[in-house]
Every structure is written in structure tokens, then in C-alpha cells.
């Protein structure tokens, strides 16, 4: 299968496919980060996570429309940063509302959370369809994100892809720092490890739950925002990624952020490299199948947190 290509061509094919894989990796990581916090830390299955992400995408879409309609063209280039902040706070607020109205009643019944959030995702999808229409919408990229950057004469990488990757790295580091160093992060981990004890030392566990859930949803909003940079958004786009993302989180070892990043990297690279040689569907089937089989052999995932039960 390699015989038809020269060595230089092969190298550039691998480099470009690898880069395509890195963009997929960025989407996976951004989506999985929020999920890893909600699922890994709180044990809540949020099937509506994809819809929270799409909400972020729609917020970005609206912001870009507002910018191009009402504000001078000179600052259009910066709309994305405003959109991202808005997306974070709007999805986060919705997340807090959902936690307060639904999730907090179901902490003891994880399987039921799954069904309730699935219902929520159906409702959100239909709202998107009613408000924004069934067609996919896209944003106009500002000029500085257009075009591509030629590394050698055969390898070209799109600038928006680079931007999304840098964004992913920044957000991942921010989340990791927050979980390790900040007050909320420490409180979250304390509550996860021992809820009664955490409550006994004065941590308001309900508040921590709500903030954690809101944070996870907010990160999903940022993911959606970044997603508009590389693709268009439709009402059902979230559903396409949710199964993959759950696999990413589980494969990485649910409570480990490094594991999440590592597994997102493995899965996305495997998928996009194979996509070149096999049909897209077979590449996905093989990747997911391998992950499922590995998970059957090693259910705790790549990185697992050793914890006393």
C-alpha cells in the first residue's frame, strides 16, 4: 500500500494526517476536559454535554453576527475572544441551573442521571432547531485566522487549526492548574475523595457540586466556541461526538486529566492516520473497537487513580 508513494510524499502525508489528527485531538480534549471534570470528579453522566458544547458554538455565531452588524469592522478580528468568554459564562450558568433543577436530585442514581440528561439533550436539540433552523451555521473567520502556513513546500498547516491547538493547550493547562492549586479545585477533589469528611471540615459540598458542574459545562462552551473555528454547527452536531468523548474519558481513566489528554491523543491520531489508508468509517470502527477491547481487558483505563474504597 505504500509502494505508490515516494519517501518524501509519505512523510508529508503522515505529517498532514498527523496534523489533521491534532485538530481532532484538540476537539476531543476540549470536550473531554469538561466531561472529565463532571464524570470523573462527580460521577455524573452528562449526555447533554454535546449540546452544551453546541450552545457555546451558537453563542459564538451570535456574537460574530452582532459584531459584523453593529460594531466597526476594525475590531471584528477580536470577536472570538469576547465570544469565548460569553460562551463560558452562558453555558456555565445553564449548567448551574441544570444541576440545581435536575442533577442534584439524582446523585445517588447515576444511571438515572444518564437518562434525564439524555432527555435534556433532546429538548436542547429541538430548541436549537426551532431557534436557529435545522441547517448548519458557520461563522466568518477573521482575516488573521485565514489561510495556511507552509512548513515545507509539501507540508501546509491551516492557521485556524494552529490557533485551536494553542487554545487547547492553554485551556488544558489552566484547568489542570485550577484543579491542583485553586480553592475550588482542592475542594472538589476533597469532596470526591470523602464527601462526609469534606462536609465536616466546613466545605459546602452542594455549592462545590454546583460550581464543578457549571465549570465542566463552561469548558464545553469554550470547546463549542473553538469548534466554530474549524467546522460548522448544526443542532445535532453535539450528538456526533458524545459517544467518542465518553470513550476518550473512560479510556483515559475517568479521574485523571493527564489520562484524558493521552487517550484523546491516541484515539485521534489512530483514527486520522488510518483514515488515509482505509475508508473513514472503517478507520473509526477499528479505532473504537480497539478502545472497547482494551477497556474490556483493562477496565480502569490508561491512567487510574489508586484510591481506597
Amino acid at each position: 500500500m505504500f509502494a505508490d508513494y515516494s519517501m518524501a510524499e509519505l512523510t508529508s502525508i503522515f505529517a498532514m494526517q498527523g496534523f489533521a489528527g491534532l485538530i481532532l485531538f484538540s476537539v476531543f480534549v476540549l470536550m473531554a476536559l469538561g466531561l472529565a471534570i463532571i464524570f470523573g470528579q462527580m460521577g455524573v453522566i452528562n449526555m447533554a454535554h454535546g449540546e452544551f458544547m453546541i450552545l457555546g458554538a451558537y453563542v459564538t455565531y451570535l456574537t460574530s453576527n452582532v459584531f459584523s452588524a453593529y460594531l466597526p469592522e476594525s475590531i471584528y478580528g477580536s470577536y472570538f475572544f469576547i465570544a469565548m468568554i460569553l460562551a463560558f459564562f452562558i453555558t456555565g450558568a445553564l449548567g448551574a441551573l441544570v444541576e440545581w433543577s435536575i442533577i442534584r436530585h439524582l446523585y445517588k442514581r447515576p444511571l438515572d442521571t444518564l437518562l434525564a440528561t439524555w432527555g435534556l439533550s433532546l429538548i436542547m436539540q429541538q430548541i436549537y432547531r426551532s431557534v436557529f433552523g435545522a441547517r448548519e451555521v458557520g461563522v466568518t473567520l477573521p482575516d488573521w485566522l485565514m489561510g495556511s502556513y507552509a512548513i515545507t513546500d509539501m507540508i501546509e498547516v491551516p492557521i485556524n487549526g494552529i490557533f485551536v491547538m494553542v487554545l487547547t493547550i492553554v485551556i488544558t493547562i489552566a484547568v489542570a492548574l485550577m484543579m491542583q492549586r485553586s480553592r475550588l479545585g482542592k475542594q472538589t477533589r476533597a469532596v470526591v475523595q470523602n464527601r462526609p469528611m469534606a462536609a465536616a471540615v466546613g466545605i459546602n459540598t452542594e455549592k462545590v457540586d454546583r460550581l464543578t458542574f457549571a465549570l465542566g459545562c463552561g469548558i464545553a462552551g469554550i470547546a463549542g466556541s473553538a469548534f466554530t473555528m474549524i467546522g460548522s454547527t448544526g443542532p445535532t452536531a453535539g450528538q456526533l461526538y458524545i459517544v467518542d468523548t465518553f470513550l476518550v474519558v473512560v479510556f483515559g481513566g475517568a479521574s485523571s486529566l493527564i489520562g484524558t489528554v493521552a487517550s484523546a491523543f491516541t484515539i485521534s491520531q489512530a483514527q486520522s492516520t488510518m483514515e488515509f489508508f482505509l475508508s473513514g468509517s472503517m478507520a473509526k470502527v477499528l479505532t473504537l473497537l480497539t478502545v472497547v477491547i482494551i477497556l474490556m481487558l483493562r477496565p480502569e483505563g490508561l491512567f487510574s487513580l489508586k484510591m481506597r474504597r
Binding site: 442514581r109 433532546l122 429538548i123 464527601r195 473512560v250 472497547v292
Partner: protein, 403 residues
């Protein structure tokens, strides 16, 4: 009490009879053949819902991949029917006569090896019963022997449903792709597309459903059923009592798979095609709501749940298609939050006491069960009685397989 009554019980028996009257007398008399065929289609989903009552309601194993087994059953039947429909005479205009039309379109020149055995009807029946169970067995052994359960099992089964859908759609030449296997005509020369045939199939379907209901009832009433409930509530205690917990889970998961597959096969026969839209994650999770609405502990509730949800789906999508997803979403949230025991729970709490006022005391056994433990709403939902240990080990559940 006779032998049948011994595992059904007087109260349950009366409700079995009411359902039988509804399915075999009221529906055929009240509906035209088109609507009756549609009810028949809904009832095939009841098989899946029934399987979920067993493995989710009683076993505490939530599978989000029941569509896989429904699909395997359906595809096995569809493969047999398709081969019969693509006899060399029927397909003479193809470049390779004698193979299904979609294979010809995809430049296949001979029947793939895994299609060949489906020329035999006996093999097909065996495949419908054995194949899903075997597949379920592999999944279940891999998972339950390692003590993986709960949400992990749900996610893995969901992924399997997703994989199978992508595979079926991707391998168009072997599976018919996204359109599925269509244009099915005869079963052993008997045309299944006529109204008369559809009515007969409806009754066959009803009888099979009742067969499965009796089996389910028998399982629940047996010692196995008791153990399942015990396991769902306190798995460790059952294990410490010396039982092999995983064996019971594997058994009930396989049983649920086979029951779902029977439904799938009957679906193909009645509807006349099979496609990947009944296999994926969406339909699989929808099947869970049939069971949840009926009452996850009520085997008869599963039938009513499947009927009500699908009837509502059809009438909503006929008149207000945009409202259907709202209704469905609200149903998911409502069932989980407001009435976790589903219709069966509502019946026990509200309707039965109300009926009691108007029915002479002599007949109260029809309405309620004096032995509360036998009624549909016998046990609060698994999580509701969730143990203190479980609360403590919410994190523990995440590191589920630490051992």
C-alpha cells in the same frame, strides 16, 4: 392453585388476561389492518423493553446497546428473506443473478461467506436465538468477570451500538448500507406483504410476546430472580454469601439479548425491511424509555410502555413533528424524577385505590395485590434505596475495577 398460577399468581394472572384481551381481541377488532400492523411493530419493541426490565429493572444492569440485539435478530431474518427474494429468476436482470440487489450494485459477484448459511430457515432461526446471546455472552463475560458495571457498562454498550451502526453503514456491499435490507417478499413462498399475512404475523408476534412474558415471569419468581434483586441492592453481600455474582449477570444479560432479538426478527417480518436506524445509540436509548415508562420492575408495564411511547410518537410526528422531541425529552426527565416506577407505579399508587372504591371487595384481587412484594412497584428504584456504602463509594464506583 394450578401449576401456571404458581409462578404467575392470581393478581398477575388477571393482568396477563387483561393484556391478552387487549392484544388479541380489542386491537384486531378496533383497528384497520394498517393500524394493526403498526401496533404489531410497537409490540416488537415491547420485547426489547421486556429484556430491559429483566436486566435493568431486576439485574441493575443498564445496557444502552439493546438495539444491537434487536438489530442482530432483525438482520438475521432480513438476510434469510432477502436471499429468498433474490432467487435467480427474480434477479435475472442483474449482472450476477441470484445475489441480493444491493450487492450487485456494489459490484459483488458472489455471495459473501457469512450470507451463505442464511439460505436455510432452520439455521436462521437458530442464529436469531443463539447469535445475540453469544455476542452478549462475550461482552458480559469480559465486563462482569472484571466487576465492571453501572455507568461503565452503559457507556461501553453504547459504544458497541455506535460501532455496529458505523460498520453496517460503511460496509454497503455486505449489509445494504444506510438503506438497510429492503424489498423483502416471501417467507417459504408465503407472501408476507398482504393484509392477511400481516394479520397472521400480528398474532404470531403476540403469541411470542406472551411466551417471553411467561419466561420473564418465571425467571423473576425463581430463586434466580430473588438473587438478582439482592445483587442489585447489595452486590457484595451476595458475593460474600458464596454466589458467583457475575454468572447471574451474564445469564440475565444474555436472556435479555435473546428476547430483544426475537422482537427484531418479528419486526423485520411485519415491517418488511431492516435498517441501521434501529441499531444505533439513539434508538437503543429510546428503548430504555419504553421500559422506564412502563415501570422498570413491571414486565407487563414494558408492553404498555412500548405501546404508549410509540403510539405517542406516531401521533405527534403526524401532527406536530417539532413537539415530539420536547415531549420525548420531558418524558425522560419526568419518568426519572417524578415517577421512577413508571406507569406501573402510577397504577399502584393512584388508579388501583380509586378503582377499589367502585369494585366489590370480592374482586379486589384483580386490582391490587395484597402481597405487596409481588406488585409491580415492589421495590423502590435501585438507587433510591441505594446503600450508605454506595454513597461513600461514589468515587469508588469510578475506580470500579480497582481490584
Amino acid at each position: 392453585m394450578n401449576k401456571v398460577g404458581s409462578f404467575i399468581g392470581r393478581y398477575q394472572l388477571s393482568h396477563f388476561i387483561i393484556l391478552a384481551l387487549l392484544i388479541f381481541v380489542v386491537m384486531p377488532l378496533a383497528l384497520d389492518s394498517f393500524r394493526l400492523n403498526m401496533v404489531g411493530k410497537y409490540l416488537t419493541y415491547a420485547f426489547v423493553a421486556l429484556g430491559l426490565v429483566l436486566c435493568w429493572g431486576y439485574g441493575g444492569i443498564l445496557s444502552l446497546g439493546q438495539g444491537v440485539f434487536f438489530g442482530i435478530g432483525g438482520y438475521c431474518m432480513a438476510m434469510f428473506l432477502k436471499l429468498e427474494a433474490s432467487s435467480p429468476e427474480n434477479t435475472a436482470i442483474q449482472s450476477t443473478p441470484g445475489i441480493p440487489d444491493f450487492m450487485d450494485w456494489n459490484q459483488l459477484t458472489e455471495l459473501p461467506w457469512f450470507w451463505v448459511p442464511f439460505q436455510s430457515f432452520t439455521f436462521t432461526i437458530f442464529a436469531i436465538l443463539i447469535l445475540p446471546a453469544a455476542f452478549a455472552f462475550i461482552i458480559a463475560v469480559a465486563m462482569f468477570k472484571r466487576r465492571v458495571g453501572g455507568v461503565y457498562f452503559a457507556i461501553i454498550t453504547q459504544a458497541i451500538a455506535a460501532i455496529l451502526t458505523i460498520l453496517i453503514i460503511g460496509q454497503q456491499g455486505y449489509t445494504g448500507g444506510v438503506n438497510g435490507i429492503t424489498d423483502l417478499r416471501t417467507l417459504h413462498g408465503w407472501d408476507i406483504r398482504t393484509d392477511e399475512a400481516k394479520t397472521i404475523l400480528y398474532f404470531v408476534n403476540g403469541l411470542l410476546l406472551f411466551g417471553c412474558l411467561f419466561v420473564a415471569r418465571y425467571i423473576i419468581k425463581s430463586k434466580l430472580g430473588r438473587l438478582l434483586v439482592a445483587m442489585r441492592e447489595r452486590e457484595d453481600r451476595v458475593r460474600f454469601s458464596g454466589y458467583d455474582v457475575s454468572a447471574f449477570k451474564i445469564f440475565i444479560f444474555c436472556a435479555a439479548a435473546t428476547i430483544s432479538a426475537i422482537g427484531g426478527a418479528m419486526f423485520t417480518l411485519q415491517v418488511g425491511f431492516m435498517s441501521p436506524t434501529f441499531v444505533g445509540t439513539g434508538p437503543s436509548i429510546e428503548m430504555v424509555i419504553f421500559c422506564a415508562l412502563g415501570g422498570r420492575l413491571a414486565i407487563l408495564g414494558a408492553v404498555y410502555g412500548a405501546l404508549v411511547v410509540n403510539w405517542a410518537k406516531t401521533s405527534f410526528s403526524e401532527s406536530f413533528p417539532e413537539l415530539w422531541l420536547f415531549a420525548m425529552g420531558a418524558l425522560f426527565i419526568g419518568v426519572v424524577m417524578a415517577f421512577p416506577n413508571g406507569l406501573a407505579g402510577l397504577y399502584q399508587t393512584y388508579i388501583a385505590p380509586w378503582l377499589q372504591k367502585y369494585v366489590p371487595e370480592k374482586f379486589h384481587w384483580i386490582i391490587t395485590n395484597r402481597n405487596p412484594e409481588e406488585s409491580g412497584a415492589e421495590i423502590a428504584v435501585a438507587g433510591e434505596t441505594a446503600s450508605e456504602d454506595e454513597k461513600k463509594s461514589k468515587a469508588g464506583e469510578l475506580s470500579h475495577a480497582g481490584n
